[in-house]
């Protein structure tokens, strides 16, 4: 189910209207920048990643198939893969500059969180660490489940189940947040 704004952006992309880029940036820019930053852990690199990703999105616009994925899923894949590639190329250049230390990956700096998303930060805290660690390793580190299992020293079966449960937990939290926001809106 796509929203009206999604459909509007998709039609602009199909028409190669550069208003699409502006709308994409306004609607998904912060989240995608967050994803890029989470992967590369460097603001300048994250900016490069976001810029490269938007060029890819613009160039590949005609390959987007709404029947196969929501717009955000498609955008996320592009940004995530661009960021992982960027991280690998930088790491190859200088192993000392950026260290992929598992302990770095799981530290969500308070400064990194936009005040607008503080409620979500609270929700993030609600996800148990054991699930979050697995989700972050798979989503942001580009690890396969086997790699995550080796890296985190957790059995593969547990990785699989934590991924599923973690995603399910997210749904519950999201559902609660949306209900609360709805109630608050109705009250105000």
């Amino acid at each position: 189910m796509s929203t009206l704004i999604e459909r509007h952006i998709v039609s602009l992309l199909e028409e190669k209207d550069d208003k699409a880029i502006s709308l994409l940036y306004e609607n998904y820019g912060d989240t995608l920048f967050g994803v890029a930053f989470k992967v590369v852990k460097d603001e300048d690199l994250a900016q490069d990643v976001l810029q490269e990703s938007f060029i890819k999105i613009w160039k590949k616009a005609d390959t987007y198939d709404a029947s196969k994925a929501k717009l955000f899923t498609w955008l996320f894949r592009i940004v995530r893969n661009t960021a992982i590639d960027k991280l690998r190329s930088v790491t190859n250049k200088s192993d000392k500059e950026i260290q992929i230390d598992v302990s770095d990956v799981y530290n969500v700096g308070v400064k990194a969180i936009n005040p607008e998303h503080l409620d979500i930060q609270e929700n993030l805290d609600k996800i148990e660490d054991k699930y979050r660690i697995v989700l972050e390793a798979l989503f942001f580190e580009g690890m396969t489940q086997q790699e995550a299992s080796d890296e985190l020293d957790i059995p593969l079966g547990t990785i699989k189940s934590r991924l599923k449960i973690g995603l399910r937990e997210l749904g519950k939290i999201y559902g609660t947040t949306m209900s609360l926001l709805l109630i608050l809106n109705l009250l105000s």
Binding site: I21, F37, Q51, I55, L124, L167, L170, I173
Partner: protein, 252 residues
């Protein structure tokens, strides 16, 4: 069927597909299951929603000015791709012209090769023909000059009394020639035809034409005790000689 869906959902293909980490085969499988089974479709929808929720948790304010840089880059990219398209069109036209001219030259080359083969064959034919004629001339010269050559006068009989021919036979060189000097007039539907009986076999030597062959020496196949015949045959010649119409015998 439900078991199949359950097994699929328990595998991690859908989660990997969500992130774009699947192989081509896994992607095809995931897309097939999403299209076919509502349970899978629903799970995929939920996963997509949750991915967005999860990613939103890490949202970070984009730096000032980045939006303008990105929009400018996208516009630049559009211009580059338009220019690239123009180059691509120009390159395509150039390739088409090149392909067209290549085809033209290839065809021309093929035609010339065919003509070359034809001319070579013609030269070969002429050469062979010339050699045959030279050999024939040489033989005629031998027959006419050799002292061992015997000369036989051949006279026609019955309605071909005016037929006159001279046969030259050389048993040493094993050559025999005939010169038909006078051919009487025949009805239009008739002609004279020459035959030779060589070792019991009749050989067709062809039709005697009125004028062309008057001064010509015609080679006869040589054999000891061979017999030559001239017969009157229907116009155009016959496959076998009409014995009743033999108008001349040449024994040589």
């Amino acid at each position: 069927m439900k078991e199949k869906v359950k097994i699929f959902l328990e595998s991690d293909i859908l989660e990997k597909y969500l992130l774009g980490d699947t192989t081509k085969e896994e992607s095809q499988k995931a897309e097939r299951y999403i299209a076919m089974y509502p349970d899978v479709r629903e799970t995929y929808e939920v996963l997509q929603k949750n991915l967005e929720t999860f990613a939103n948790m890490y949202a970070k304010k984009t730096p000032e000015g980045l939006k303008d840089i990105i929009i400018a880059s996208a516009r630049k990219e559009t211009m580059v791709s338009k220019r690239y398209m123009r180059y691509a069109v120009a390159a395509s036209i150039a390739i088409m012209i090149f392909a067209g001219s290549s085809l033209f030259f290839w065809n021309q080359n093929k035609t010339l090769q065919e003509e070359n083969t034809l001319v070579t064959n013609q030269i070969k034919y002429l050469e062979d023909n010339m050699k045959d004629q030279l050999a024939d001339m040489r033989n005629q010269f031998i027959v006419l000059n050799n002292p061992a050559t015997k000369k036989y006068q051949v006279r026609g009989e019955r309605e071909a009394k005016e037929l006159k021919a001279i046969a030259y036979i050389n048993p040493v060189k094993k050559l025999s020639y005939i010169n038909v000097s006078n051919v009487p007039e025949l009805p239009e539907d008739k002609c004279f035809q020459m035959w030779a009986e060589v070792n019991g076999e009749l050989v067709n030597l062809g039709v005697i034409k009125d004028f062309d062959e008057k001064d010509k020496l015609l080679a006869l196949p040589y054999a000891d005790n061979a017999v030559g015949y001239i017969t009157i045959e229907p116009k155009g010649g016959n496959n076998i000689p009409s014995v009743d119409n033999i108008v001349a015998n040449i024994n040589y």
